[in-house]
């Protein structure tokens, strides 16, 4: 398979879902079964992705394939010469891996939805939306430039808006869609500013060109500080899309969407786009930016984890867990554990999609009951779902033999190493803490849902195992949550091809003095420049490698212990009921309430930002109507005072004379009218006086 062929294949993968979207949307009304077209398309895309993955990783493992085309030609721009704005696609290991994940999960969700969404009024429309989502996501993955990234970034926002608000008759659903879009836009503003900085500095959007210019010592506004700022601003996009603190509030609400959608976009793909963005721009991140990213990641890992501890909605728990896991990834990137972070992205995609689909299966079985306190004992009724859910729970808790163990441990290892190299132990500390909490709340969820006695017997009676089209995706994902696909050694991910050959930490392009010490290149600067575009292994410095190796065993043991502890506590609380949970909650009531009420983020944002904006807008509208208009219209108050003296004035005002100059003019006119008394002798007196005045002026 030649490179052009691969490009064409990539383009096909990109545009097939769009075709699916258009066809399904336009003929959705007429042809009942048009959704099958969309499903066929996505299967085709998946096959293409597999072929691409295979080809790329087998034959072009160290070659990046780029194809670009000029989208907009700006002509002969003064000072810059001929300028074009290019768009193009980049096929490298990261993108093919990502595309594989995206198309796979998308396909599984499509299949899962066939039964899950059956009978919905807008059945075909739903599949159309899935199509446009897949298209947008694929675009993000394949882009080789920042502009296209932004374009598809926004399109993903749109499709998520459409999908979250799919059941738009429900106010909560359309609210959630709106919230998701707007909160995302907040992050996008930062990203846009970052893009503006990049473009004004480099006059290109293409990553590789930007990187090589940075490596050549050309910075935004000629200062390294602004390079840091650029990095942080771009990362803002990721904060929004990946629902990182403090913009995480939209994701739990987004659970209003159909559950398969949650699995697709709010677990596996769209939210991962933020992480993917950071992965893409990783080379230009300075130590300051990385530190910022790490802190945000840490907070995002921690806060939602605490919230997830107490939630009762099955999907909410998963949502907060998603944020928390994404926080892990972001933190991992922040501490320089690039490979592990991306690895976690992939593994998490599978098991989190599995969890969501599993919960979908449960919800489907329970007739759209989502409260876990009303479930229980479903293990017997839904064995497949239970089994797959259990595997996923183990994976997310980081229990050995699962994929989650491999990737999560990598991140913890990275933060451990980071702590040891820089002294910032906080990341490692929080990482481990969250690992324990994760284990706890996942098993709390599992136990309450599947174990014990059924709490709602009526619903329980009707519960049943899901049909094949729903169970199959669960099985596939469960299989993919096993370690074997990634590495032969369940305790060391780096022995697998994925980490040793496919994912490689890119060469940083930031200046040496704005990197962490351990990241400083030991190669001469000019060599570094040449290596920018090459996909060669870079492992920062010798000391980092050592620290990482040193961290492996301690972090592994620690995380295992903590995860085990978390599971143990969960079992003792909910399965064996050793501790009265309600009593415990009572005894730490403030903390419990804080967690249960999601740290009051929604309330605070609602009051401060939404309320503030609305208040401001109302104030301005009032201002506009009364003050601005009033000022331009002349002194309305003066006029009103005058109107008391002249009854006629009111008539005229009513007559439509509420007008600009008219107020003042009318007033002046009124003065002039006073002279026109109708008495000719008065006129003559006035003439005499004006003559006197004229003579005085001109004497």
């Amino acid at each position: 398979m030649t490179e052009p062929m691969m490009i064409n294949l990539a383009l096909a993968i990109l545009f097939l879902p769009l075709l699916g979207f258009l066809v399904t949307l336009l003929f959705g009304k007429r042809i009942k079964s048009i959704y099958t077209f969309e499903i066929a398309i996505i299967i085709l895309a998946f096959v293409g992705a597999v072929v691409l993955l295979f080809t790329k990783l087998s034959y072009y493992q160290n070659t990046d394939i780029v194809s670009q085309v000029s989208w907009i030609n700006l002509g002969n721009v003064p000072l810059l010469g001929n300028t074009t704005i290019d768009i193009g696609i980049l096929i490298d290991n990261i993108s093919v891996l990502m595309i594989f994940v995206v198309t796979l999960i998308s396909m599984l969700v499509h299949i899962f939805s066939i039964v899950y969404m059956e009978g919905d009024r807008l059945y075909n429309r739903y599949f159309a939306y899935l199509g446009i989502f897949t298209f947008s996501m694929t675009g993000i993955v394949f882009t080789h430039n920042m502009l296209m990234m932004y374009i598809f970034w926004e399109l993903v926002g749109l499709s998520s808006y459409l999908l979250i608000g799919f059941w738009y008759e429900k106010k909560s659903a359309s609210d959630a869609g709106k919230k998701a879009f707007i909160v995302n836009r907040v992050g996008d503003l930062g990203m846009l500013s970052g893009i503006l900085l990049l473009y004004t500095t480099y006059h290109t959007f293409t990553f590789s060109q930007i990187f090589s210019q940075i490596a050549a010592g050309h910075f935004p506004l000629n200062s390294e500080f602004w390079l840091t700022v650029t990095g942080i601003l771009l990362f803002c996009g990721a904060i929004g899309k990946s629902a990182q603190f403090p913009l995480h509030v939209w994701l739990p609400d987004a659970m209003e969407g159909p559950t398969p959608v949650s699995a697709l976009i709010h677990a596996a793909t769209m939210v991962a786009a933020g992480v993917y963005l950071v992965v893409r721009i990783f080379p230009l991140l300075t130590s300051g930016a990385l530190m910022f990213i790490a802190v945000i990641g840490m907070l995002s890992a921690f806060i939602p984890a605490t919230i997830a501890l107490t939630q009762n909605d099955i999907k909410k728990v998963l949502a907060y867990s998603t944020i928390s896991q994404l926080g892990y990834m972001v933190m991992g990137l922040g501490v320089g554990a690039y490979k592990f972070a991306f690895f976690h992205l992939i593994t998490h995609a599978f098991f989190k999609a599995l969890l969501f689909l599993g919960s979908g299966s449960v919800i489907h079985a329970m007739h759209h009951e989502q409260d876990i306190t009303k479930m229980g004992g479903l293990r017997k009724k839904m064995p497949i779902t239970y089994a797959t859910f259990l595997i996923a729970s183990l994976a997310i808790s980081g229990i050995p033999l699962t994929s989650g163990f491999l990737s999560k441990d990598g991140i913890l290892q990275g933060s451990f190493a980071f702590g040891s190299l820089t002294g910032y132990w906080i990341f490692a500390f929080v990482g481990f803490l969250v690992a324990m909490m994760t284990a706890f709340y996942m098993f709390r969820l599992l136990i309450l849902t599947f174990h014990g006695e059924p709490r709602d017997h009526h619903k329980y009676e009707h519960a049943h195992e899901s049909p094949f089209t729903m169970a199959m995706p669960l099985a596939v994902l469960a299989v993919l949550s096993i370690f074997i696909w990634y590495t032969p050694n369940p305790f060391n991910p780096e022995q697998g091809a994925i980490l040793s050959n496919w994912i490689k930490t890119p060469q940083l392009v930031t200046p040496q003095d704005s990197r962490f010490n351990f990241m400083k290149s030991e190669l001469p600067a000019n060599v570094a420049v040449q290596q920018v575009t090459q996909n060669s292994e870079v492992m920062y410095s010798e000391s980092y490698t050592q620290a990482l190796e040193g961290a492996h065993i301690p972090s592994l043991l620690l995380s295992l212990t903590l995860a085990g502890l978390g599971i143990l506590i969960a079992f003792s609380f909910y399965q064996w009921k050793k501790v009265d949970v309600d009593k415990l909650a009572d005894s730490i009531k403030p903390l419990y309430k804080l967690s249960y009420n999601k740290w009051y983020f929604d309330e605070i944002y609602g009051a401060v930002f939404v309320g503030g904006t609305l208040l401001l807008s109302r104030a301005l509208a009032w201002f506009d109507q009364y003050i601005v208009d009033g000022i331009v219209n002349g002194a309305a108050t003066v006029t009103r005072a005058v109107s008391r003296f002249s009854g006629k004035f009111d008539n005229v005002v009513v007559d439509g004379m509420v007008n600009g100059t008219a107020y003042v003019s009318g007033f002046i006119g009124l003065i002039f009218r006073r002279f026109q008394t109708g008495k000719v002798q008065t006129y003559i007196v006035l003439v005499v006086f004006s003559l006197v005045i004229l003579l005085f002026i001109f004497k």
Binding site: F672, I684, V687, S690, L695, F698
Partner: protein, 503 residues
């Protein structure tokens, strides 16, 4: 002892052929009135015929420049020059149109038995105006002014049984009497200062010797009172709204155009001939340093237009509104004089043509509407747009032109005024004038609002318009629109009319 030279008279009479024709017309009208005791519908046509002859004679001598009734070289009572001829032509045409008005007017028809007097007075008035436009002697100025005034006092009160007609004429006569009295007093002082009543002579006398400032200023200002009264410039405008409202519409129209034109012709001639020192190649006048005419006219014109526009905002009577609007237009016209340049005069002339057409048109429509509705109140115009679409659209065009919006002739008139101002670097004045235009839009558009936007209060019945009035309106609308987009002939006419005798 002086000897009387017959040649002196004959030469002079040759130059005042239009005036002679007018006098003959006057006599003819009186005679026809006496002979045709019952049927007087020929009278207006006799008058028009006489006027056509006059027009012919005027055109014949249009570019002549000469003194008539000379007593010494380069002095004369009467001046025949293109400038004067232009105004005479304008007045003659306005008169013809007003006669047509009168034929159509219900108000004039009421006094059918006094038609002869009506036209006789009118012909006396036009004769006075002709002489106003061409006299260079203060005595003649005064007498011709009085001739115009006396006729117009009576005409303003023509329908003597109407309360407002007689009131208008009383106010007019009192106001006019005192104005001309004050003017006469000023003339007497000027005479005392210079020993002459001839403007050219006065000019050369002032150039030759120092004249005492203050008295001279007093005299000039007092003389200006009489002219300011005629052109209704503030603060001598007070009669205008009352008289315009009270008079029959044709007379109002006539006063607002012909009488004003004559007044302007007189004013310009008086200022230019009396006070000129030299004219520079760019056409700017250098006046004798006697009185700061520029500032004087700036004050007067801004006051006039501001007052006219702002007071017009409040009017509910269409005639009164047009009266104030004509005051405002006098202000714009005076702007042309403030520039004190030939360019300014040209602007005034252009403006006058345009103003004449559109103002006559507006009054004509108002009259036709009044004929039908029996009302001039703007409130009664509600819904006229559907009842009488042609009249309404015509009025709209005239009012838009009065506002000065392109592509109507009104815009061209304003354009030239403002060009003159900008060229003279009088930007602040131009800004004030332009803002005035914006104010004026409001009251003009208010009329249109009533016509088109308001729903009729009474039941709708379509008002028919006679063929004669339609033709007549079309005749007036055509130049308003035509000059708006192609004004070369207009400017050419003005250009050939700016030369005053002697300068």
């Amino acid at each position: 002892m002086n000897t009387i030279s017959l040649n002196y008279l004959v030469d002079s009479l040759k130059l005042i052929k239009p005036e002679i024709a007018l006098s003959i017309t006057l006599v003819l009208i009186v005679l026809v009135d006496l002979i045709m005791n019952k049927d007087k519908k020929f009278l207006p046509y006799v008058f028009v015929a006489g006027l056509l002859v006059t027009v012919y004679l005027l055109i014949e001598q249009f570019s002549t420049s000469a003194f008539a009734f000379t007593t010494a070289p380069n002095l004369g009572m009467v001046i025949i020059d293109p400038f004067g001829n232009f105004f005479k032509l304008l007045i003659a045409f306005a008169t013809i149109i007003v006669i047509m008005f009168s034929v159509l007017s219900n108000e004039i028809k009421e006094g059918l038995d006094r038609q002869g007097e009506y036209y006789a007075l009118m012909s006396g008035m036009i004769l006075g105006m002709f002489l106003m436009a061409s006299s260079a002697d203060l005595i003649l100025i005064y007498v011709s002014l009085e001739l115009v005034s006396l006729s117009s006092y009576v005409l303003a009160g023509f329908n003597k049984n109407h309360v407002r007609n007689s009131e208008a004429s009383l106010k007019y006569v009192i106001y006019g009497g005192i104005s001309s009295g004050i003017m006469l007093f000023g003339i007497s002082i000027l005479y005392g200062l210079t020993g002459s009543t001839n403007l050219y002579e006065i000019n050369s006398l002032i150039q030759a010797s120092q004249v005492h400032g203050l008295t001279f200023i007093v005299a000039s200002v007092l003389i200006f009172v009489g002219m300011g009264f005629k052109i209704s410039a503030a603060p001598f405008h007070f009669w205008t709204p009352d008289v315009y409202e009270g008079s029959p519409i044709p007379i109002t129209a006539y006063l607002s155009i012909a009488s004003k034109a004559a007044g302007f012709a007189l004013l310009i001639r008086f200022i230019k001939i009396t006070f000129i020192q030299s004219v520079d190649p760019n056409g700017f006048w250098h006046l004798l340093n006697v009185i700061d005419w520029k500032t004087f006219f700036i004050i007067i014109s801004i006051l006039t237009m501001t007052l006219g526009n702002f007071a017009a905002l409040w009017q509910n009577n269409m005639k009164r509104l047009l009266a104030y609007s004509s005051i405002a237009h006098a202000g714009y016209l005076l702007l042309g004089l403030t520039v004190l340049s030939n360019e300014g005069i040209m602007a005034i002339i252009i403006y006058f043509v345009v103003y004449g057409i559109m103002n006559l048109g507006a009054f004509l429509v108002v009259m036709l509407i009044a004929n039908k509705l029996g009302s001039e109140e703007i409130d009664d115009y509600d819904g006229l747009g559907s009842k009488a679409p042609f009249l309404s659209v015509s009025l709209a065009i005239f009012l838009v032109s009065l506002t000065g919006l392109p592509p109507t002739a009104g815009f061209i008139g304003k354009l030239y005024i403002f060009m003159a101002l900008v060229d003279a670097k009088m930007i602040a004045v131009a800004v004030i004038a332009l803002l005035n235009t914006v104010v004026s839009l409001y009251y003009y558009i208010r009329v249109l609002k009533h016509i088109f936007l308001n729903d009729p209060q009474k039941e709708t019945q379509v008002l028919s318009t006679s063929v004669a009035s339609v033709v007549f309106l079309v005749v007036l609308i055509t130049p308003v629109l035509l000059f708006g987009i192609y004004f070369t002939p207009l400017v050419d006419l003005a250009k050939s009319s700016i030369s005053l005798m002697g300068f």
